[in-house]
């Protein structure tokens, strides 16, 4: 398998850049009103409380200004975003029943094979509805719930009502308020006390329909002592119309539980990816973020961990690759609320052909978090002199008994290293790709093999400049 990992040059970008003609059965008009929000809710047969939350979010959205910091979002015209596109299909649990054109899209992305090989279940999102969902029998027999959010609202109403957008309230910022008003699709996972899943759960998000936004909601509860790895993968085809992704992820990690949340995002280069992810970690619980940002025109993404219980732990491992025309603003946030909590942030970014990669982090240690530990390391690699890389770490330390470290390194790819590898027969492109792969190796080794392979492919494609 090592062979696959290193031979990465011959992958065809066409694998990611295909789309079907628009066959959706239902589409809202452009722009956002209370009527549309009510319509979305009615289509989903939602309980009244959910409609109320949507309408409250819409109110917050309307009165909240655009963010005053971060990358420019001027290209975003909210009236142009079609907020809801529903495919011509109902939920399917058998692959054979999924309509041909949708199946074709997923097959080209390798979903069924991936599932057969190593994954526990697939919740694949096509436009805004989940069309394919399958959990292996052993999971359900252990009491694990893995379903789409719409089903969860109906079948696990109490849990959803208690937790939905409580960790990330709509007041947080404009795009999460928008999300609260129009959310559609996403995953719900519930892992009961003491259950440890050896194989990862995977969801695959994909946008298809010009002008459509995607607002999937992910809600995961890992009960006391339980353990799960959730993988969120995103790949979208290329469009000319501006696209917006404003998803929301809420993770509840209970006492002594461990959740690993992995993402590789490869949105097409016209996408604005304004995503909000947050975890609440209780006593001796652990959240592990693995985050790869490759695609999109603009990204703002800072997974955050609230370490609420004593001994709670957070690790963040992130990789960002900004090519031509991309402004990727990524990082992590940690709030230490309890004694002996610990956090590490390890981030690597690559910028090329004028791309901008910004690392932004915020670590807060409150007075009651005695004995807290936090360390952050961020490294940036610039492939040429046109590209940009910035580091904006913020630390707010209010406890005298905290152990804090921060390290930042920014460098350019070394001509001497490229020459060295070329004298061993590697072409300039191969040499650079090898150096970059080595640079991201600390991240790649955290990923399941399939994802590490995909990440290496993406890096090679980015270096060839054939994406976007």
């Amino acid at each position: 398998m090592k062979n696959q990992k290193t031979r990465v040059a011959d992958i065809d970008r066409a694998r990611f850049d295909f789309r079907d003609s628009d066959k959706s059965g239902y589409k809202t008009g452009k722009g956002l009103t209370a009527d549309i929000v009510a319509e979305i809710s009615a289509m989903k047969n939602e309980p009244a409380w959910m409609l109320e939350r949507r309408l409250r979010s819409l109110e917050v959205y309307n009165r909240t200004p655009m963010p005053a910091w971060g990358p420019p979002l001027g290209e975003l015209d909210m009236d142009e975003i079609v907020t809801y596109v529903r495919p011509n299909t109902e939920m399917k649990s058998d692959w054979n029943d999924v309509p041909g054109y949708i199946k074709n899209t997923f097959e080209r992305l390798g979903i069924p094979q991936a599932e057969r090989e190593s994954l526990a279940g697939v919740g694949a999102q096509y436009d805004s509805e989940v069309v394919y969902h399958n959990i292996r029998r052993e999971l359900s027999s252990q009491g694990v719930v893995y379903t789409d959010m719409e089903t969860a609202v109906r079948e696990h109403e109490d849990t959803v009502k208690e937790l939905f957008m409580k960790l990330v309230p709509p007041e947080d910022h404009k795009f999460v308020a928008l999300h609260g008003a129009v959310w559609s699709g996403g995953s719900f996972v519930y892992v009961p006390e003491g259950v440890r899943l050896d194989i990862p759960l995977q969801s695959y998000f994909r946008l298809n329909a010009p002008g459509a936004g995607q607002f999937e909601h992910t809600l995961i509860v890992v009960e006391k002592g339980a353990n799960v790895h959730f993988i969120e993968g995103c790949s979208a085809p290329k469009y000319n119309v501006l696209n917006l992704h404003a998803g929301c992820v809420e993770l509840y990690v209970r006492e002594g539980a461990t959740l690993r949340y992995s993402t590789i995002e490869n949105w097409s280069k016209n996408m604005m990816n304004l995503n909000t992810k947050r975890a609440l970690v209780e006593k001796n619980g652990t959240i592990e973020w693995i985050s790869g940002t490759f695609g999109s025109h603009t990204t703002m993404l800072y997974p955050s961990s609230i370490l609420k219980g004593e001994g709670a732990r957070s690790t963040f491992t992130g990789i960002t690759f900004a090519g031509a025309g991309q402004n990727l603003d990524t990082g992590a946030k940690v709030v230490h609320l309890a004694p002996n909590t610990s956090s590490t942030i390890s981030s690597r970014s690559i910028s090329k052909d004028g791309g901008i990669a910004v690392y932004r982090s915020a670590v807060s240690i409150l007075p009651e978090a005695t004995g807290a530990k936090s360390s952050a390391v961020c490294e940036s690699l610039m492939m040429d002199s046109k590209s940009r890389s910035d580091t904006i770490p913020v630390m707010d330390i209010r406890s005298d008994e905290a152990d804090i470290g921060h390290e930042a390194r920014i460098g350019r790819i070394s001509d001497a290293a490229v020459f060295y590898l070329m004298t061993r027969g590697l072409s300039e492109e191969e040499a650079k790709a090898m150096i970059v792969r080595g640079f991201v190796e600390p991240i790649a080794k955290e990923l399941p093999l399939e994802y590490a392979v995909e990440m290496n492919r993406l890096i090679s494609l980015e270096l060839e400049g054939t994406i976007g």
Binding site: K2, N3, T6, S414, D415, A416, A417, F419, Y420, L421, M422, T423, R424, G425, L426, S427, E428, E430, A431, M434, I435, R437, G438, F439, V440, E441, P442
Partner: protein, 246 residues
């Protein structure tokens, strides 16, 4: 008539507008061992790097031929694939890439053939054992945290695995203890045959003791000023470069 491998004709090269090579001439045939000596700053490393196509130097005049083909404009990887090799004085560290993965990719690029994992691993192990390198080096990142001696051994390991027609060894012996020099010298000896050639750039000459040296070139001010047989080495060791440059 022995086969000509490298032919350097009137090579002039500069870096940042500063002229370093001033009409260097060098002819190397298959089956020969050449030694390149000279005071610091004479241009020995520059000659090696320019012959290998280092893009940081600009070639102002002259040509370089390999097996009769003009390679003056060729990129380093194209030269490598023709069978040229340079053992670096200070090899670069490449984090995140293991010695084994790197060498396998290099061998594949070098030969243009698919290199199968298991046979390759076996060969690599054997070459490492010959050099007295612990098998664990294969899974370490390329040159990262290697001592000076380990880096040099790793260069010779690459030579042994890639099996070039022409190997230029730039001060591969400097900074090494006696045992390491002996090991490396033996490895060079094993590599050497009638089809290939070796150029050794050195100050110390202990590395040469067991090697059949055919020519010794003395370099000064960016050109080769004197070429003799191996007997001159002793004189240089005793009386310094001035005695032969006079």
């Amino acid at each position: 008539m022995p086969k000509n491998l490298l032919s350097v004709r009137n090579l002039c090269a500069s870096v940042d507008g500063r002229r370093i090579l001033n009409g260097a001439e060098l002819e190397i045939n298959a089956g020969e061992v050449h030694v390149l000596m000279g005071p610091n700053g004479a241009g020995k490393s520059t000659l090696a790097n320019v012959v290998m196509g280092d893009p940081r130097y600009s070639v102002d005049e002259g040509r370089v031929f390999f097996e009769g083909a003009d390679i003056t404009e060729e990129k380093p990887d194209a030269r490598a694939r023709r069978g040229m090799f340079l053992s670096f004085q200070a090899p670069e560290e490449i984090p995140g890439i293991t010695v084994e993965n790197f060498l396998r990719a290099a061998k594949s690029a070098y030969t243009g053939e698919d290199v199968k994992l298991l046979p390759f691993r076996k060969e690599l192990r054997a070459r490492m054992e010959e050099l007295g390198m612990d098998a664990s080096y294969a899974s370490r990142y390329l040159n990262v945290g290697f001592s000076g001696g380990e880096k040099k051994k790793n260069e010779i390991l690459q030579m042994a695995v890639l099996n070039p027609k022409l190997a230029i060894l730039d001060e591969t012996d400097s900074g090494l203890d006696i045992d390491a020099v002996k090991t490396i010298s033996e490895s060079i000896h094993r590599h050497k045959n009638e089809e290939n050639a070796i150029v050794i750039i050195t100050h110390i000459t202990r590395i040469l003791q067991k090697l059949p040296v055919d020519y010794v070139h003395i370099m000064a001010d960016g050109r080769i000023v004197k070429t003799s047989d191996a007997s001159v080495i002793e004189k240089i060791n005793r009386d310094g470069f001035a005695s032969v440059l006079g």
